[in-house]
Structures are given as structure tokens and as C-alpha cells.
């Protein structure tokens, strides 16, 4: 096929989106919903794994000391812990430091009043382990030390987040598959409408010796343009939706959020790419079926 007729075919494809606008609009609507749902699921997965990195990515376990333990005693205990097997480093976190941390994360000034004597928090030690597989035995050894009250099991949180992440991944995978199938179906139906309205032209094209590829191009262009439009609109909607969505989520769960600037470009690319791919697929499915059957008849229709 020569490139020369390409401009004409592209024009034909885009023209039919307009002449078939109700169906095109329906396709675009469905595709946008699919892309947005898929995108939200993907963002959720990304957020969970992002948080997983900050929680489970380090081998640090915070060990809380008994209330009576003073700062100096804490240093001694820290020294003792650092000599234990499987412990690579320790760091004392004094009760005042802990308050400061809270204050910084939450941003409320009332914590400032709790500094010094009135501080309800215990002193703590951050213990870094060499091998997390030995977590249980190391923790029981640590808990046996005088002055140690308890340990925060970050493994449990990490485990919960991993489970959640896997659940979200599995569920969103199925949602994505279902939505892609629905989108392909809707688009292929929309394209089929165009095709039936143009079957007369197709039969003339075939009678003068147009190849199937050539007949197919305008429809593929139509599908891909629908995909492109849907992808672009979805990206814009997501941009505005992300803020609302994340504000709502942080109210329920205090988790770290990925800034939009970090994911926005990627999501836009994915939306447009996926939209165009689904559009092309939808049109190939319908036109392929047509060309194999009715599209081959010149005289007999």
C-alpha cells in the first residue's frame, strides 16, 4: 500500500466519528469510565506499595522502654541491645524526640505542651536487624532485657499492607480485564454501526480492488481517535479527581500519598495508550468479522 492515500483514509475515519456521533459519544463515555476505574485501582495499588516501602522497606523495629527508664538508662540498654546477635544498629529515641515526631506529622501545637515532665510517652530504641527471618527470636531476646516494655511489630503492619496490596492487585486486575472486554465490545459495536452505514462504499471499494487493509484503515483510525479522546478526557478528570480522592483517603487512613506530579505523566500516557489500543482492538474485531463474511460480496446484496 502506498502512503499517498493515507490522508484520505484518516479524514474518512475522523469524519465518521462525527456522522456517527451518538454511538461515538457512548463509546467515549464507556471508555472514560473504564479508564478512570482502572486508573483509580492502579493508583491505589501504587499508593499501597509506596507506603509498603516506607514501612516494610527498612528493618527497623521500635522497642519501647518502661516508663521509669531515664534517658541515661536508655543509652545503656541501647548499648546492650546493639551487642546482641542479628542487631546491626540501635538508636535511642527519647520521649521528647518522639513528641517532636508526632508534632511534625500531625502538625498540631498542643504536643509542644507535653514536652518535658508531662510527657506521657516512654523512651524508645530503634533497633535495626540484619536478617528479618530471625525476627521472632531476636524480639524475644530483646523483650527479656530489663527495662524493655514492648516492641512495635512493623512486620504485622507490613504484612497487612502486603495482603491489602495483593488483594487490590487481584481485584483490580479482574476489574481491568472485565472493563477492557466491555470497552472493546462497545467500541466494536459502534464501529459496526459505521460499517453498516458504509457497507455500500465498502462493496464498491472491494469491487475496484481495494485491499482489506485499505478498507480497514478508516475504521481503525476511528477506533483509535475515540480511544485518544477518551484517554485525554480521563487524564484531565483524574487530575481533578486525584486531589478530592486523596483528601478523602487521608481522612480515613493516615498514609503517605504519592504526589500527583510523580504519577500524572505516567497515568496520562497509560490512559491515552490504553484508550487507543482498546479502540484499535474494537475496530479490528468488528471489521475483521465483516470482511470475512458479507464484505466479500459484490453482486449479491
Amino acid at each position: 500500500m502506498r502512503f499517498s492515500g493515507f490522508g484520505y483514509l484518516i479524514k474518512e475515519g475522523i469524519k465518521s466519528i462525527w456522522s456517527n456521533r451518538m454511538m461515538s459519544l457512548a463509546s467515549i463515555g464507556v471508555l472514560i469510565s473504564c479508564l478512570l476505574l482502572t486508573g483509580t485501582a492502579e493508583l491505589l495499588t501504587m499508593t499501597v506499595s509506596y507506603n509498603l516501602e516506607s514501612v516494610g522497606g527498612t528493618n527497623v523495629t521500635r522497642v519501647f522502654l518502661e516508663q521509669e527508664v531515664t534517658d541515661l538508662e536508655a543509652v545503656h540498654i541501647s548499648d546492650e541491645l546493639s551487642r546482641m546477635e542479628n542487631v546491626s544498629a540501635t538508636a535511642v529515641v527519647t520521649k521528647d524526640e518522639a513528641i517532636k515526631d508526632y508534632q511534625e506529622t500531625v502538625g498540631e501545637d498542643i504536643f509542644a505542651q507535653l514536652m518535658g515532665e508531662g510527657n506521657p510517652l516512654p523512651n524508645a530504641i530503634d533497633v535495626t536487624m540484619t536478617d528479618l527471618a530471625l525476627y521472632d527470636s531476636t524480639i524475644s531476646a530483646i523483650l527479656a532485657v530489663d527495662g524493655v516494655e514492648s516492641a512495635r511489630d512493623t512486620r504485622a503492619i507490613a504484612q497487612k499492607l502486603t495482603d491489602l496490596s495483593e488483594l487490590v492487585s487481584t481485584v483490580s486486575l479482574w476489574i481491568v480485564i472485565a472493563l477492557v472486554l466491555i470497552s472493546v465490545f462497545i467500541i466494536s459495536n459502534s464501529i459496526r454501526m459505521t460499517m453498516y452505514s458504509r457497507r455500500f462504499e465498502i462493496s464498491i471499494m472491494k469491487s475496484v480492488g481495494a485491499t482489506n487493509t485499505f478498507v480497514r484503515i478508516p475504521f481503525v483510525i476511528e477506533g483509535m481517535t475515540i480511544g485518544l479522546i477518551s484517554g485525554a478526557i480521563s487524564s484531565v478528570v483524574l487530575y481533578f479527581l486525584y486531589d478530592t480522592l486523596t483528601t478523602a483517603i487521608t481522612k480515613i487512613m493516615p498514609i503517605n500519598l504519592i504526589p500527583y506530579s510523580q504519577v500524572g505523566g505516567f497515568m496520562t500516557l497509560v490512559f491515552i495508550g490504553a484508550g487507543m489500543l482498546i479502540g484499535a482492538l474494537g475496530s479490528v474485531v468488528s471489521i475483521g468479522r465483516y470482511l470475512r463474511k458479507e464484505g466479500n460480496e459484490l453482486l449479491g446484496w
Binding site: 502506498r2 455500500f200 475496484v208 480492488g209 460480496e297 453482486l299
Partner: protein, 224 residues
Amino acid sequence: MIEFRNVSKVYATGTHALNKASLTIDKGEFVFIVGSSGAGKSTFLKLIMREEVPTSGSIIVNGMQLDKMKRRHVPKLRRTMGIVFQDFRLIDKMTVYDNVAFAMRAIGVRPRAIKKRVPYILELVGLENKADRYPSELSGGEQQRVGLARALVNNPQMIIADEPTGNIDPEMSYEILELLSEINKRGTTILIVTHELDLVHSFGGRVITIDKGVVVSDTLDIQS
């Protein structure tokens, strides 16, 4: 050039449309295929255009063996022939010019070549002044001339006309045949399928008669 050797066609419904038909049409000939409806004329055309495949026998059209032809080679065959339909098959929403240009665009001809070729062909069929009209604004005879222009525009070796005068009045019919004869004189093979025997006899030429799927006569009408 068309060569049918012992060609039979049996449809899935059990209809025997052609029965060991053999015939040869040489390059540059002007031929009428006649026969009553259901005689096998349509099947004959469908086989030439490779819309159907023969049940047995061999078919060679413009140097290509159709009974063994792969589907992806069919466009190559169709580009060697121009087809004129009984019902004109013009696209209503396109002008005369665009209807003719459409046949060139459909096979990827360069826009510059289209701009040069279409006016030339429209002049050939006497429609140079109606390029901007729509099919609905034309008479039956004029519409068929657009159909003819479209069949001619890609410079085929052969024109196949399926009942080209079936939908136009007798006077115009004769004009269309005259035009086809003119084209034939420039070296294009012309194959006309019709059941209008009067027109055939008044015009003359080689007449192949098909009846019940068999070639029953092949004569040269001396009036030509």
C-alpha cells in the same frame, strides 16, 4: 483474457449453477453473454470476479488462475477489471467527480494523479459539465455513464457490465453500448451480461448464450 475449462459450480443449497462450462474470450473482444434469469449468468460473473470459487474446473482471467488463487491476491485481480452494475451503485452523498475519484482513492492512487485522470475520464463519457452534480440530479443514462467512468478510471484491461441497460430507457441504452464500443476500440475487452436480446441483435457482436448452466451457443452476429 478469460478462459473457462470444464467449470462447474454447485452451491451449498444444491443448485447446479454451471455445468462443465468451457469458453474463451480473447483480449480486445466485445462479447455479450445472454440467457434467461437463473441460467447461470450471475454465477459466471461472480466466478470471473472471484466472488465465488468453482466446484471443479479451471478459470484463468487476465493471466491469473482463479481456482487456485489465495484470497489476498483477489484485489490484484479486481484491479485488472472495471465493473458496471445494473443499479449503477453510485454513492448518493458524493458528487459525480468524487464517485469516480473514489475508485482511485480506494486503491491508494496519489491525489495528483486523481486530479489529472478524473476530468479526462469524465470527458470521455461526456459528463465533463456535470462533475459537481449529485447522482440524484442525473438521468438514468447519465448515472450509468458515471458508473462507466468509475469502471474505466483505473484503466482496466477488461470491463464487465452486468445488465448495464437494465434500468435505463432504450434510447439511452443504445448510447451506453455505443460508448462501450468506443472503449473497446481503444483495446479494452468488453463483457456485457444481458437478457435484452433485441438490443444485442440490433447492436451485433459475439454472443454467448448460457442456459441451465451450459454454454448452448457461441455465435458472431454479422450486423457488427
